[in-house]
Symmetry: C2
Subunit: 141 residues, 2 copies
DNA sequence: GCAATAATCTCGCTGAGCGAGATAATGCCA
DNA sequence: TGGCATTATCTCGCTCAGCGAGATTATTGC
């Protein structure tokens, strides 16, 4: 029961961080979530379009257009026509957005890595197994 | 680095659950967060007022009034004048809201407890220590 | 070529949350 | 006791994110 509260507390704090990041860069929470989706897609090499982004964010096409407009106006994202299927628009994350994200979340990531380093190999394996199980449980629910 | 992604994935999924819960009960995400705050306060015996709630949610007084109005209209919360300091309004969670929360999040909580049971005492201690350290790191950032 | 289909964008509207200020109960001091 | 500052909450008018419906542009199949 204690771990449930800890997990929830961590979730709440991570959300708060996201909000602070948003407030500090003239972004809305949805814009931050959109940037995270786009950075993930960039990292895995998956092409991102307004359609895929809107689906991931649970927005309709009008809202998606608005999000992309805001991000483009701030110079975080660029629209590019797909040369193969000229109906599609590809979303490219600009360098400055990547730098922005790392500047804000980098310190936290480094801290978590430091926390992990204080555990030995067997303990790290236990933690990963636990988080994996929880993730599966949460995804299933 | 893997645990960072797992933690983030868990956070995302928990947020999604909150949104599904909201959508399924004619609530807005903010309303769900408010209910969680009020249930926490109820559990720990802390008196809850629009002032404290607004502070926890990061809303101003106008927005707070609107949240409480919505929750009251749906019968999840009741306003009560504090008899000692008659300027204050105490927020009481109705039974049906408590039942609603447990009905939705109960299964997940039980699943996480089940996951925990598969670890021995030493492993459970490791997991709790890890989550505690992460929580501290996240809170500090 | 001309429907049918698909991806994205435009328009008008609803409602959450904000800033400013009103209202009401309390505490303090002469 | 009366008047003034303080604290807690609510009201009003406004802005803007996101929604539904439909327009626009590109592609595919006949």
């Amino acid at each position: 029961m204690r771990v449930v509260h800890l997990l929830r507390a961590i979730t709440v704090e991570l959300d708060r961080m996201g909000e602070r990041f948003a407030a500090g860069h003239a972004l809305h929470p949805t814009d931050v979530r959109a940037l995270i989706c786009l950075l993930d897609a960039d990292r895995t090499g998956t092409p991102a379009t307004p359609g895929t982004l809107g689906a991931q964010l649970g927005l309709n096409s009008a809202g998606t257009t608005a999000v992309v407009d805001r991000l483009e106006r701030l110079g975080h994202v660029r629209r590019e026509r797909d040369t193969r299927d000229r109906r599609r628009v590809l979303l490219k994350v600009e360098e400055n957005a990547i730098a922005l994200g790392w500047g804000f979340f980098g310190p936290l990531i480094r801290e978590i890595v430091t926390v992990m380093d204080r555990f030995d190999a067997a303990e790290q394996a236990t933690i990963e197994r636990f988080l994996g199980d929880v993730h599966e449980a949460v995804t299933r629910s």
